[in-house]
Symmetry: C2
Subunit: 233 residues, 2 copies
DNA sequence: CGATGTATCCATGGATACCATCATCCCAGC
DNA sequence: GCTGGGATGATGGTATCCATGGATACATCG
C-alpha cells in the first residue's frame, strides 16, 4: 500500500470506487497478502481521502469476497480455504460454461482475433504481475459476447478471488504450459464453432486449476512455496 | 418505509446490516416499488440512525443489484428489464442445478421433512407477503445440503432480484398451482434419489418462471396488472 | 515463576456538523 | 412559449468527536 500513488485526480465517479480499485489491485498483485489488516485511517491517509469512502470501499470488497470483517477489529485481506476454493470453482464452472454456451454463436471475427491476440501476449509474458490480468482478459473476451454483463461481472468477482493463488500455480512452467495449451484448445473449438468441444475444454481447464489450487491450499501454510522470483525461465 | 419501527435496539452487529434488512424487506414485499428514490437522511431519520450507515447499506444493496445509483442523484429501487430477467434466470439455472446436484446425495431425512413442511405451508398460504419468503425457504433448504454457503448466498441474491415480480406471476391461481406441482415433483425426485429427474424438474420450474417473467416485463408498464389485492381465491 | 487482574492504548463504528457540487424547479423576462 | 438564472434540496465528501471493545504491557498474587 505504501507504494500506491495518492492520486485521486482525474478520477470521475465515487471516491469509494477509486479506493476499491487501489485495494483490489494490491490484493490481486500480491502486495497485500492474506490476513493483512486494512486500517481505515492509514488507507485514507495514503490515498488522500477521508475515512468514510474507505469504509464504503471495504464494504464493496467484502461483497466481492476479497476482504473479511471482524466486528470491532476491522477488515483484513481474505484467506481462502481449500473448501472455499473448490466452491468458487464449482460456481465458476457452472457460470462460465453457461456464459460460453450463450456466447459461442455470437462470437464474431473481431472478437476471436482479439482473444487470439491476448493469448499470444499471455504466452510470451514473463512477468507474473500481468498473468492474472491477461488470463482474465482472454476469458472475458469470450464471455462478453453472451451479452450478459451481470453474469460476466459475477464471474470476474469469482476469478479475482482465486487470482492471487492462480499466480502461484502458474509459476510452475509445467502448469503454465498446460494452461496455455488448454487456452489454445478452447479458442480453436470456438473458431470451429464446435460447441461441445469448447465447453468440454473449458471444463477441463477449470477443473485442472481447481484441482491444483485445492491441493496447494490443503498443504499447511509453512510448506507452501509461494514462488519467490518475478521471473521464470 | 414510514411504517417501519425505528427500533435498532437488540440488534447486534453493524448498524448498516440493520438498515440493509429494513430496506431489503421493503423492496421484497413491494412497499418500496421500482424507481422509488431512497433518500439518505429520510431513511436515517426513520430508522433512527445517522447518514453514514445508510450509505453503507445502500452500497451493499447496490452490490446485490436491488438498488441503482446515479451520480449526484442518489439511489433508487432497481427496475428489471426483460433482458436482465432472462440473464438472472440463466445464472440461477446454472447455479441452482449445480447446487442441487451436489446437495442431492447429502440430503438427509431431516432436511427432506423440513422441505416438505415448508411446501405444505406455502401451498396453504393465502397471503402474498409470505410467498416469496417461503418459496426461497424451500429452495434454500435443498441447496444448503451442498455445504457451499457462498453459492447459496449468491443464489439468494439472484432470487431476491426477481422476488418482487415473482409475486405478480404467482398471483394467477393457474400459475400458482403449476408452481406448487413443480415443487412437489422436485421434492419427490429428491426423495427417490433420482438425480436426473430432480435436476430436470428444477430446470423446468425455473424456465417456466423465466418465460412468464420475461413475457410480463416485455409488456409496456401501463398494461401490467400488478395484482391489486393481498388475497386470492 | 506462572497465572491472573488491571491500566492503558488504539482502532473501529458511529454521530454530528459542515461544505462544495450538481440537479431540479420555478419564475421572471423576452 | 421559450429561455436563463437564482432558490432549493440532495448527494457526496471532509473533519471532528466519542463510546465501545480488543490487545498489550505491566503489576500483583498464588
Amino acid at each position: 500500500m505504501d507504494t500506491i500513488i495518492p492520486a485521486p485526480q482525474g478520477f470521475s465517479g465515487h471516491t469509494a470506487d477509486y479506493v476499491v480499485q487501489a485495494i483490489r489491485q494490491g490484493i490481486l498483485d500480491g502486495s497485500l497478502p492474506a490476513h493483512q489488516p486494512l486500517r481505515q485511517d492509514r488507507i485514507a491517509d495514503t490515498l488522500g481521502v477521508s475515512k468514510v469512502p474507505v469504509r464504503e470501499a471495504l464494504i464493496q470488497l467484502k461483497a466481492e469476497g476479497l476482504v473479511t470483517f471482524t466486528p470491532n477489529r476491522g477488515a483484513v485481506v481474505s484467506e481462502l480455504s481449500a473448501a472455499e476454493a473448490v466452491e468458487i470453482y464449482t460456481m465458476r464452472i457452472a457460470l462460465e460454461l453457461a456464459a460460453l454456451r450463450i456466447a459461442l454463436p455470437r462470437l464474431d471475427r473481431a472478437r476471436l482475433i482479439r482473444a487470439e491476440s491476448v493469448l499470444s501476449i499471455l504466452e510470451q509474458e514473463e512477468t507474473r504481475a500481468q498473468w492474472g490480468r491477461l488470463n482474465w482478459e482472454f476469458h472475458q473476451t469470450l464471455y462478453q459476447a453472451s451479452g450478459m454483463p451481470r453474469m460476466v461481472e459475477t464471474i470476474r468477482a469469482l476469478h479475482d478471488n482465486v487470482g492471487r493463488y492462480l499466480l502461484i500455480y502458474l509459476a510452475d512452467p509445467q502448469y503454465r504450459r498446460a494452461s496455455n495449451e488448454e487456452h489454445r484448445r478452447i479458442l480453436q473449438a470456438c473458431r470451429d464453432r464446435d460447441s461441445t468441444a469448447a465447453l468440454e475444454q473449458l471444463r477441463v481447464h477449470l477443473e485442472a486449476a481447481s484441482r491444483e489450487l485445492a491441493a496447494f491450499l490443503e498443504k499447511p501454510r509453512a510448506e507452501r512455496t509461494m514462488g519467490g522470483s518475478d521471473h521464470v525461465g
